[in-house]
Amino acid sequence: MKEAYETADDRAIPAAGARPACTLRQALVIVLAGAALGLAANAVSPRGIPLLTPPKAPPRAKDVVTLDEAKALWSSGTAFFLDARATSDYKAGHIAGALSLPIDEFDDYYPQIQSVLTTDSVIVCYCDGLDCDLSHRLVDRLRELHYRNVRLLVNGWTTWHTAGLLTHSGTDP
């Protein structure tokens, strides 16, 4: 090992030749220690998440409403539209009249929403993007809480505002 340092090449670029095995070991320690810290922090955090991403359940066809159905429900004034996205996204723009219920902060926001809902209320959940599963999770969560008429508008925000329907921005519905 000692001889390796004394070759001409190594003297030309001292840093590049300096004990690569040692550096590699240290790099490995950094990665493993970081990962261990992360796992530990997640384990003790009250808001920890599962280690593996749970597979996304495909939406059940009967739960999904089309844009026209959503529009009709919206016009009827009897349905509640719930925005499952983060509050920052809600503030930037949402379906007019929709209430903010970010699924990731469900416990903080639900009490307010609960006061206006009954288990028979017609509820339309939405988020944004075809792959967005926030609204799916919100639908599941509300079902667990025995809401009977929960629907889903897939890719809700984009579909709604590109159709030129009424939207609103800010914290108010």
Binding site: I30, T53, A92, D131
Partner: protein, 160 residues
């Protein structure tokens, strides 16, 4: 050269520490109070941001979101204080390659998603600009990984 390397180390290390803290501590920027640590890590949201890249295997998205910020914090912190400089520079180089691959993947598929580069603090979307920044950071990190000398290794060499 030493001074330049020191500045580069502080710069890259600083960016990594800042982005790690943003993910771990969920710093919130409010107009009323400026920077604020809410102490509520929004890991679920960050995991969602990671998942939105749709880089397979999908099941590992959460694991990346859980571990990545802490590896960033360690590597960035070590690079800043000058301990295990080469090793931390290598780790950061490897992470930059990963980030570049992920951003390229997202851009190639036309995903209109949040970058997540600084956790959920910034609402910035994945873009060519983010790609360019990452390239610049990769170049610096790789330079440090290649040229930076470890004090421990130097000691070993001078003592012989």
């Amino acid at each position: 050269m030493k001074t330049i390397n020191l500045i580069l180390r502080l710069l890259i290390g600083g960016v990594f520490v800042a982005s790690a803290l943003a993910k771990i501590g969920n710093v919130q920027i409010s107009h009323a109070h400026g920077f604020q640590f809410s102490h509520v890590p929004d890991l679920a949201q960050f995991a969602q941001d990671v998942g939105n890249y749709h880089v397979p295997p999908r099941a590992l998205g959460n694991l990346v979101a859980i571990t990545l910020p802490w590896i960033e914090l360690l590597a960035g912190g070590l690079l800043m204080v000058g301990l295990w400089k080469r090793a931390s520079a290598w780790v950061i180089t490897a992470m930059m390659v990963m980030f570049l691959a992920a951003i390229t993947w997202a851009l190639a598929h036309g995903y209109d998603i949040r970058c997540g580069c600084f956790g959920t603090v910034e609402a910035r979307k994945v873009s060519v600009i983010a790609l360019a920044e990452d390239f610049a950071m990769l170049a610096v990190a790789a330079w440090l990984a290649w040229r930076e000398e470890d004090s421990t290794t130097r000691k070993m060499e001078t003592s012989k």
